[in-house]
């Protein structure tokens, strides 16, 4: 009997390519005659370019061209609403004018035959500016008009609550810092553009290039089979993608442009810094009555970037009164972008810290307090939950983590120089689904090729889609090949917001179901088939063989079926069109952390963590576990290490490198464990998944922050928590 592939702990189907160095990331693709481009970034944050002296650079042997606004052609820059460009504002138009909007803005690009000459040339371009004093500090800068939400009368309710808390939390700007730098190779063949790019959305990049260059969508092809991590930074086509294509057109050769690590800090987005004031009211038993959220976040002067920072305040806990004000603050910086768990991560840090503060204030166990405020329905819209098993996450988590060993009083456990503490936090991420398509081809050998224009930045799209297809087609995993990352493939939404498995997976399921049914119809209607005349509903396919469900001996293989019919292939297009849902659907998680804090040196060490998730069906348990652990590691970074630091005098980012923008290293990461509640959410989508990539990251930083409080008795309301804050 063939085992089901979905739910089986398979190794990655692309594992071999990755461990042998054969997986091709953006800058790895060979292109005949390729030349190299290096961007020159502005050294001021605001002002106008008054001169560009390219003589020294142009004189270098090997330098082919130096491009700036002085000699670049005007580009179409059509509007492109079907992208992740912010709705409000005007995207950066490279080399189209003399304005400098942020430090590091591309002001020129040097194209040369070797990387060495290009980089040297870039260091020789002299740009002069008429500089103005930039505004880059969120603190104190004026905000734009707020987005608001209200139910009940939260201000009144907080004012009259038996217990009131008021806190301001701050979170630092974080950069995605995937290990693969953004890179683009661009090649024109006449009027047709081919681009190998690091992107989470080949279709999005295709649309943007078509809009920028004013060419037909069909004239642009974007290829991206492997993405070396992205965490959101690949959801938009950044200026350098345009620059690579522009340079390739101007020099008439393929151009490779790889951003330096330093350039990533201004050349791509980031999780904006926040100032978040929260007032809450509750009764003495810890029942929340109201929350008032005043939120301020960074954005750029030219685009209004907003993310979903409001959802958690509306739906995580039950309370009659909520008021939210979300303001963005335009600064002379580049535009932020979604970063893993966008908005939710920040909101969860604030809310989950505040709830922990309330629990401490009232002397109630933090888990118990959360249970008391568990909503019965989605109070933001009155919808029932399809599944919401947060209580179970708490129960399982508390049991497996040994929560009962936690002394209620903070600062009560000490081992030598170390103060030990436990903390936990909840997180939720609304399930996102969007239309998707997938092509399924079964060939005469009985093997299947499934393809969709999605991507795999690490969670394992290749593997999970293969598993879904294998089961739906009744094939062994090795008889299925899944391909992705080419804009010529059937359209899918962006590979972000944890929607890939739900959306693309449902399209794959649909396509494979259709194909299987098509084969079965062919067989039962075929006199020469052993299945002739059998009710199609009674036919199953397993291990590549169609047979009567109750009589496995009676049947035949796909191969025989196709051969007999002289068909080289069967082909279908799978579709997923999410309808209006009557349910509120989200993935949930509870994260537990135990930390040690050196009582004299202020150093925080995470000792262990556990995450328990209600994420619907888990297609690939082995890969899901890696993803959850990775989410925790990212959370350790956000809680304790990560911050992009700007010198507000001139807007210089002072730690734009991996030696001083600190992400966790191996030594920072102890034993981590993930548990997935078994089950599926049939209302979520046809395959019952709720999304995983975001929720595993969302409650991590507050769990650690709460553990630090429990260890030390000191509440730090700012991320990352540094040694100086704990001394």
């Amino acid at each position: 009997m063939s085992r089901r592939a979905v739910g089986a702990p398979l190794s990655r189907v692309d594992g071999r390519l990755k461990v042998t160095g054969q997986a091709k990331y953006a800058a790895d693709h060979p292109a005949d005659g390729v030349v190299h481009a290096v961007i020159v970034g502005s050294t001021v944050s605001r002002g106008r370019i008054t001169a560009v002296d390219t003589r020294a650079a142009s004189a270098l042997s090997g330098v082919l061209k130096v491009i700036s606004h002085r000699n670049a052609p005007r580009l179409a820059y059509h509007r492109n609403p079907s992208s992740n460009n912010p709705e409000t504002g005007e995207r950066l138009r490279v080399f189209q004018d003399d304005r400098v909007r942020f430090r590091g803005q591309p002001v020129a690009v040097v194209v040369a035959t070797t990387p060495e000459a290009a980089r040297h040339g870039a260091s020789l371009v002299v740009v002069r500016y008429d500089a103005e004093q930039p505004s880059t500090d969120l603190a104190g800068a004026p905000a734009s008009a707020p987005v608001t939400y209200a139910r009940g009368d939260a201000d009144l309710a907080v004012g009259s609550a038996a217990v009131r808390l008021e806190m301001t939390y701050r979170t630092a700007r974080n950069h995605h810092n995937a290990m693969e730098p953004h890179a683009t190779i661009a090649r024109w063949d006449g009027g047709r553009l081919t681009v190998w790019d690091k992107t989470q959305w080949v279709v999005g990049t295709q649309r943007e290039l078509a809009a920028v260059f004013g060419v037909e969508l069909s004239a642009v092809r974007v290829i991206s089979p492997f993405v070396g991590g992205a965490f959101g930074s690949g959801l938009r086509a950044w200026p350098h993608v345009t620059i690579a294509a522009l340079a390739a057109r101007m020099v008439g050769r393929p151009v490779k442009l790889v951003l330096t690590r330093g350039q990533l800090y201004s050349g791509t987005g980031y999780r904006p810094a926040y100032e978040y004031r929260l007032r809450l009211g509750s009764d003495r038993r810890g029942r929340l009555t109201a929350m008032v959220h005043d939120i301020r976040a960074e954005t750029s002067s030219y685009e209004d970037f907003r993310e979903n920072v409001l959802a958690a305040g509306q739906t995580l806990y039950s309370m009659p009164h909520v008021r939210q004000t979300y303001r963005t603050v335009p600064l002379d910086v580049n535009t932020p972008l979604y970063m893993r768990g966008p908005g939710h991560v920040t909101a969860a840090y604030v809310i989950e810290s505040a709830v922990d503060e309330l629990a401490h204030e009232l002397g109630i166990d933090p888990i118990e307090l959360r249970r008391r405020n568990e909503p019965a329905e989605d109070e933001s819209n009155g919808m029932p939950f399809s599944t919401r098993r947060l209580r179970e996450c708490y129960t399982v988590g508390a049991r497996e983590f040994g929560w009962e060993r936690r002394a209620p009083e903070p600062r009560s456990t000490r081992r030598g120089d170390w103060l030990i503490g436990m903390g936990m936090a909840a997180g939720a991420h609304g399930t996102v689904r969007n239309p998707a398509q997938a092509r399924v081809v079964l060939d005469a050998r009985g093997t299947a090729l499934v393809e969709a224009a999605t991507s795999d930045m690490g969670p394992g799209t290749y593997t999970s889609m293969t598993q879904i297809a294998a089961d739906a087609l009744g094939l062994a995993v090795r008889a299925v090949e899944f391909r992705l990352g080419d804009s010529g493939m059937p359209r899918t939404p962006a590979h972000g917001a944890s929607q890939t498995t739900a959306s693309v997976g449902s399209a794959v399921q649909d396509g494979c179901d259709k194909l299987r049914r098509q084969a079965i119809e062919l067989a039962v209607g075929d006199r020469r088939s052993p299945l002739h005349g059998v009710d199609a509903r009674h036919v199953t396919v397993s291990a590549g063989r169609l047979h009567v469900t109750a009589d496995p001996a009676r049947g035949e293989t796909y191969q025989r079926l196709l051969a007999r019919h002289g068909r080289a292939r069967l082909e279908t297009l799978g579709l997923f069109e999410p309808g209006e849902s009557r349910f509120s659907t989200a993935a949930y998680g509870a994260t537990f952390a135990e930390v040690a804090v050196d009582h004299r040196l202020g150093l925080v060490r995470v000792l262990r963590m556990l995450g328990v998730y209600d994420a619907g069906r888990i297609i690939s348990p082995k890969l899901a576990e890696s993803q959850a652990l990775g989410g925790m590691v990212g959370g350790i970074g956000a809680a304790l290490l990560e911050r992009t630091i700007t010198d507000h005098r001139d807007g210089m980012i002072v730690n734009a490198d991996l030696a001083s923008y600190l992400v966790p290293v191996n030594a920072d990461v102890p034993d981590l464990r993930a548990i997935f509640l078994e089950g599926a959410d049939p209302e979520a989508d046809p395959i019952g998944v709720k999304g995983l990539g975001e929720v595993v990251h969302i409650g991590v930083a507050p769990a650690i922050a709460n553990a630090v409080f429990h260890a030390t008795g000191r509440r730090v309301r700012e991320l990352p928590i540094t040694a100086e804050a704990l001394l």
Partner: protein
């Protein structure tokens, strides 16, 4: 394929005086006393290669994954760029180009090093092993650590993986695998932003037990 740098010498272009303050190099001659000896604090002005006519490129012969290779290279070329841009061995990755991530880790004469900070011109006669050299047969046989990485799911995006594996081989050879804690410390020169550390440690442990 990547193009050859033109000619065997890359002449310097004229550099504008405004950009190159020679002040860095030509300090005023003051005298300070060190250990009773008067020391002039000026630095000899550095002659430009152009002025001396010294070549800024050279030939290097080295062995990469068991295969002898000779190339004429710009002196500035890093081993990393030599592998990637000239030899087409793109398995070795660039994460920072500054020694701060470990993605470029390869073995040079058996030791793990950062290829981004290694000037290729220094490698005359050296033996370099990259990820492509571990399972050269193309048959099913993988290096035990490659196999362990797959079995333990010690990666997600896979970008840091070649560096992790080469570093892990170094770590095992050095004998720094006596405990998970020791592996963590000695594998800390390889950042994995996907956060696969727990499984990387398991994979190194597994391979250390079998090699």
């Amino acid at each position: 394929m990547a193009s050859e740098p033109p000619g065997s010498r890359v002449p310097l272009g004229a550099e504008p005086a405004s950009l190159f303050s020679r002040r860095t190099f030509i300090a005023t001659a003051t005298a300070v006393t060190v250990g009773g000896v008067a020391v002039a604090s000026d630095v000899v002005p550095e002659p430009s290669p152009q002025a001396t006519g010294a070549p800024v490129s050279g030939r290097v012969s080295l062995v990469v994954n068991g295969e002898g290779r000779t190339a004429t290279i710009d002196n500035r070329t890093s081993l990393l760029d030599l592998l990637r841009e000239r030899f087409g061995l793109t398995g070795t990755k660039k994460g920072c180009d500054a020694g701060a991530c470990g993605a470029c880790t390869v073995l040079v004469d058996g030791r793990r090093v950062n290829a981004c900070l290694t000037l290729a011109v220094r490698l005359e006669g050296a033996e370099v092993t990259t990820i492509e050299g571990l399972a050269p047969g193309g048959d099913d046989e993988l290096h035990p650590l490659q196999q362990a990485f797959i079995e333990q799911d010690a990666f997600q995006c896979g970008y840091c993986t070649p560096g992790q594996i080469m570093s892990g081989i170094g770590c095992i050879q050095e004998g720094h695998t006596r405990s998970p804690g020791e592996i963590r410390e000695w594998m800390s020169g390889n950042i994995c932003r996907c956060g696969c550390y727990v499984n990387i440690v398991k994979a190194v442990e597994q391979a250390a037990g079998t090699t």
